[in-house]
Symmetry: C2
Subunit: 199 residues, 2 copies
DNA sequence: GACCCTACCAAGCATTTGCTTGGTGTGGCA
DNA sequence: TGCCACACCAAGCAAATGCTTGGTAGGGTC
C-alpha cells in the first residue's frame, strides 16, 4: 500500500524493483540501487535490513494484492469460461500495473525460494496452480471446455503464456493490457486455425 | 559436434552448460564449474580463454544446429499448417535434446546480447521472428489460419509458449517431447474451448 | 536552547569474483 | 632415454560485493 506522497522508503523500493527486474536480483548490487537513488550504498541500510528484505517486501506486497483478486474470481458465480477469462485479464492487468514485480517473480522466484525466508513463494505457486486447475476442471465438467484436455499441461500452458508476456509487454506503449488479453483469450479458447478447416 | 568419446574440453563445456542453465551465467562462478569438474578454477583457463568464451561456444553451437532445422522446414513444400506444426515439434525436440542451452538462451540472452561479441544473438532472434512470421502470414494467406490474427502478437504467443516450456519440461521424465508437442499444437491451433460452444 | 528524528555521508572490512603466473605429473612416441 | 603435449596445481592479485560503524546536517517540537 503506498500513500499519495510516497515516502523515501517507498521511492527506494520502487527503484530497487526496477533494477531487480532489469538485471536480476543477484546481479543488482546495493551500489547500483544507491547510485540510481543518488545516495551512497551504506545509506540504504538506514532504511532496510538487507538486500533480501527489500525484495521480500516487494514480492510479498505484490502477491497479497494479486491473490486477493484471484480469490474474488473463484468465489464468483459466473460460468467457468467467464471466470477463466477474468483470471487471464486480471493477470495481464497485473503485468501492466506491476511489471517489475512480475518480472522479479518470474526470474528469481526459483532461486529465492531456496531460502526459508521466502517459503511463501512456493505456497503462492501452489495456490496459483489450484486456482487455474480448479477453473479448468470446472470448465471440463460443465462442458465449457473440451473434455479431452490434459489438465496439468493445460494449466502450464495458460500460466506460462500469460506471465511470460512480461518479457515483451511495455505499459503505455502499443497495445493496452486489455487488447493483449482479448487476443490471448481468443487464441487460448478457440485456437489460431480457421474454424472451417478444423480437423 | 561432439565426438563419440567426448574430449575433456567438451566435458567441461557440458558441466558449464548445466550450471549456467541452473543458476544463470552471471551467478555461476568459475569456481563452481571447476568444483563440479573436480579441478581448480585456474585450470579451466588451460582449456578456455574466459567464462564468456565458454557460454559463447555453448550457445553458438546450439543455435547453428537449430536454425539449420528451421531452414529445412521453410524450404519444404508442405502447407503452412504442417510447417507450423513441424517448427513447433523441432523446437520441443531442441528443448528435449539441449535443455541447458535453451535455458541459457532464455535467461541470459538479453544480458549477453549487450556485448558486441554476442551480436549474433540478436541476429538469431530476428531470424527466428522471420521464420514464425513467414509461416503465420502464409497460413493466413492460404486460408489455413484465421484471417483476423494479429501477426506480431500471434508470433509472440507461439514463440513464448514453446520456449518457456524449458522451465518445467524434464527429458526422460513423464511426457515425451513429442507428447507435449501434440498437446501444444492442438491447443494452439484449435483452442481449449468445446467446439460446439464456440462463440 | 536543548532535544530528536530522519536521511544521509565517509571510510572501511571480510569475502567473493575472474583471471594470471610459474610450475608439476603423466602418458605416448621417437 | 629424451622429449613433448596435455591436464592440472598452488598461490595470489585487483576489483567488486554486502554490510558495518561512527559521524553530520537539517527540520520540527517542547
Amino acid at each position: 500500500m503506498s500513500t499519495a506522497v510516497p515516502s523515501r522508503r517507498e521511492e527506494l523500493l520502487a527503484i530497487a524493483a526496477r533494477l531487480f527486474a532489469e538485471k536480476g536480483f543477484r546481479n543488482t548490487t546495493v551500489r547500483d540501487i544507491a547510485d540510481a537513488a543518488g545516495i551512497l550504498s551504506g545509506s540504504l541500510y538506514h532504511h532496510f535490513d538487507s538486500k533480501e528484505s527489500m525484495v521480500d517486501e516487494i514480492l510479498s506486497t505484490f502477491q497479497n494484492e494479486l491473490f486477493g483478486q484471484y480469490d474474488e474470481i473463484l468465489a464468483s458465480s459466473e460460468d467457468a469460461r467467464a471466470k477463466l477469462e477474468r483470471a487471464v485479464r486480471v493477470s495481464f492487468e497485473a503485468i501492466d500495473k506491476h511489471p517489475h514485480e512480475v518480472a522479479i517473480f518470474q526470474n528469481d522466484a526459483d532461486h529465492l525460494g531456496s531460502f526459508s525466508r521466502f517459503g511463501y513463494l512456493a505456497d503462492r505457486n501452489t495456490q496459483s496452480r489450484q486456482v487455474w486447475v480448479t477453473l479448468i476442471e470446472e470448465g471440463m465438467r460443465t462442458g465449457v471446455l473440451r473434455p479431452d484436455l490434459d489438465v496439468t499441461l493445460t494449466y502450464r500452458f495458460i500460466r506460462d503464456t500469460v506471465w511470460v508476456a512480461v518479457r515483451w509487454y511495455r505499459p503505455g506503449r502499443g497495445l493496452t493490457h486489455s487488447d493483449v488479453a482479448d487476443q490471448y483469450v481468443r487464441i487460448l479458447l478457440d485456437g489460431i486455425a480457421q474454424p472451417s478447416r478444423r480437423r
